[in-house]
């Protein structure tokens, strides 16, 4: 198991391959990916549509099986887990933030946040209390009992972030968390994520196209055609403006 102190390896992928279909319909989604994230960091996974980002995070999260390679998540070899062990591993260690929020429309904000706790066996009343406290911390005190349909996109994503964090997971996977939001809401969501999700002993992976939020990243892995082609650490190696102004990247992302 890797060190859980900041800087220790949270997720490690070595030569990960994944293909779908066979024969003429075979699609190589991942062609030997090497990827790492560290505890206490926000790791961005960026790249054009169809480059394999979603496939990679699905494999890291234990939602898909890799065709080859080695994946270690929080020190656990994913290939060694049975399907049911993988479900329990996800329940205990992972939090998800989805592009389309995926909140249960029939549940209130606080009940949505409480779902991972209830699934883990926390009594409903205690789960709701704990969830309400987190929502208050995320600035949604007035909307705790609101249904998702009555919340703005930004508020829904904040509820989704609370749901991803409420059970104190050690890995948070965010899939395009700002894609369905306007610039201001997207920025607010990223601020919230950076302020609340990044913790010692936790690693956060964010898949995004949104160049406006790159400055929140501790590291950015650029994927293309099923491979990681470039990894940068903006805060240390280059400034955000330098990164965004990179003509090649501009063409890719904008």
């Amino acid at each position: 198991m890797g060190s859980v102190v900041n800087g220790g390896i949270g997720v490690s992928c070595r030569q990960v391959r994944k293909h779908f279909g066979s024969g003429e319909t075979r699609v190589e989604a991942l062609r030997g990916v090497d990827f790492e994230t560290r505890f206490g960091e926000l790791s961005f996974l960026v790249g054009p549509s169809g480059c394999g980002k979603t496939t990679l995070i699905s494999i890291i999260a234990g939602l898909l099986d890799a065709t080859g390679g080695e994946i270690s998540v929080l020190g656990t070899k994913m290939a060694a887990l049975t399907p049911s062990e993988r479900v329990l591993f996800r329940r205990k260690n992972l939090g998800f933030v989805f592009q389309q929020f995926n909140l249960l429309p029939a549940l209130t904000a606080v009940e949505n946040v409480a779902v991972p706790l209830i699934a883990a066996g926390t009594p409903r009343r205690r789960a709701v209390e704990q969830s309400a406290a987190l929502l208050i911390q995320l600035g949604l005190a007035a909307r705790i009992n609101a249904l998702p349909s009555t919340l703005s996109g930004g508020q829904q994503q904040r509820v989704a972030i609370a749901r991803a964090l409420v059970h104190e997971p050690r890995l948070v996977v965010c899939d395009e968390p700002t894609a369905a939001l306007d610039h201001a809401s997207g920025d607010a969501v990223m601020q919230l994520l950076a302020a609340n999700a990044v913790r010692p002993g936790r690693t956060v992976i964010v898949v995004t196209h949104d160049t406006r939020v790159f400055h929140y990243a501790h590291s950015i892995a650029h994927m293309d055609d099923g491979r990681i082609v470039n990894v940068t650490r903006p805060s240390t190696s280059r400034t955000l403006s330098e990164f965004v102004e990179d003509a090649t990247l501009q063409e890719t992302y904008v």
């Binding site: 979603t54 995070i57 699905s58 999260a61 939602l63 898909l64 049911s84 479900v87 329990l88 591993f89 996800r90 329940r91 205990k92 992972l94 998800f96 989805f98 592009q99 389309q100 995926n102 249960l104 429309p105 029939a106 549940l107 009940e111 779902v115 991972p116 209830i118 699934a119 883990a120 409903r124 749901r163 899939d175």
Partner: protein, 379 residues
């Protein structure tokens, strides 16, 4: 997670009410049609079940049901009485005279002639007058529905007269008997009077009714009577089912009701099943998110079954309530008197609804089980 399942079920009110009421109307239709059908079939044997004194019926070997009689010889009664195990045996006459009121209103009727001496074979319920008054000459007891048919809008009272086969008969009692299959007035009189009210034939004895002695079962007695007399002998229950079977086999009633019941099952199953299935399919994204979060397949199956059984139980209860209300209203109407919601039909309908819910659940469960949780990442 049960509360999550129930909130998912009730969250979309339009779909939820659509699902519950589809099951409710399917339940109502099934219970309604099966009960009416069963009650109509039971009516074919109303006059048999009315006779509670005797447990064994003896008739011509070719007789298949109540309406079809070929008179026995008077000596057959003596022979039956001589069969060991017969406690007593008496005559019973059945005929269809035309009864006419003084105002000229007339109706064909069922006339049952019961034993002169013992009045055995008379039904139990009488609303006005008494069975003992049948001992008066030219007297009859008429059922309430028949009375209302012949004397519409007039109060129930004794002493009114009818003309039957040039005989003036006096009403000395008003009974409350189950409606016959054909809604004709049901009249009871003594055997000796009945044969006069219809017109004499060479032989008149329609049935012999008998009671087994102590230690002899009706089944044993029917076997003995058949063996010794070569006549057809049936217990009350057997004779009732003979009548029901005859109508099932020889009329279009079961086909008509069968079509309606089949349509109710098919439409109910398709509408309720499809609604529930589509409900699950619409929620696949949510189930996918729950899977990703770490909810096990077993828990998800439990959630779907809980949703199905909740909707099924609620719809079945509402449908049964609707059916009970329907029968409560119509049981008091003259034409539909005695037609009640039978518990057997409720149980049968419950079983059908259970099957529909199970099938719909299994289809839905399959979709959720094969769902890849990674699908939640696809926009």
């Amino acid at each position: 997670m049960n509360f999550v399942a129930l909130r998912m079920l009730t969250g979309d009110r339009a779909k939820y009410f659509g699902l519950v009421f589809a099951i409710a109307f399917c339940t109502f239709l099934l219970e309604n049609q099966t009960s009416i059908f069963a009650n109509i079939m039971k009516r074919t044997a109303s006059q048999i079940l009315d006779v509670t004194d005797a447990e064994v019926w003896v008739m011509d070997p070719q007789t298949e049901y109540w309406e079809q009689t070929k008179a026995l010889k008077d000596t057959d009664l003596t022979i039956v009485r001589g069969v060991p195990g017969v406690q007593w045996a008496v005559r019973l006459f059945k005929g269809n005279p035309v009864a006419r009121t003084r105002k000229g209103k007339f109706a064909a009727a069922f006339l049952v002639g019961i034993d002169d001496a013992t009045l055995a074979g008379a039904p139990r319920k009488i609303l006005l007058g008494s069975w003992e008054r049948l001992r008066e000459p030219d007297s009859i007891v008429i059922d309430q529905a028949g009375y209302i048919l012949l004397f519409p809008d007039e109060p129930l009272e004794l002493g009114r007269t009818l003309e039957m086969n040039d005989h003036r008969v006096t009403i000395v009692g008003i009974s409350d008997v189950p409606a016959p299959f054909a809604s004709l007035p049901v009249m009871h009189t003594r055997y000796s009077e009945a044969i006069n009210f219809l017109g004499r034939e060479r032989t008149q004895l329609s049935f012999i009714i008998a009671r087994p002695g102590v230690g002899v079962t009706p089944e044993e007695l029917t076997a003995r009577i058949h063996e010794r007399t070569n006549l057809r002998a049936r217990t009350t229950q057997e004779f009732m089912w003979d009548c029901v079977r005859y109508y099932l086999k020889n009329t279009g009633i079961p086909v008509n009701f069968g079509i309606t019941i089949a349509v109710a099952i098919i439409v109910g199953a398709v509408v309720a099943g499809q609604t529930f299935y589509l409900f699950t399919v619409d929620n696949l994204k949510q189930f996918g998110a729950l899977k990703a979060i770490g909810i096990t397949n077993l828990r998800l199956v439990g959630m779907i079954l809980l949703q199905a059984f909740t909707a099924g139980t609620l719809g079945f209860s509402i449908g049964t309530g609707m059916a009970a209300t329907f029968f409560e209203i119509f049981v008091h109407k003259l034409a539909t008197r005695g037609i009640v919601l039978m518990w057997q039909c409720v149980a049968l309908t419950g079983a059908c609804i259970f099957v529909v819910v199970i099938v719909a659940s299994l289809l839905s469960i399959r979709r959720v089980l094969v769902l890849e949780p990674a699908a939640v990442f696809r926009g």
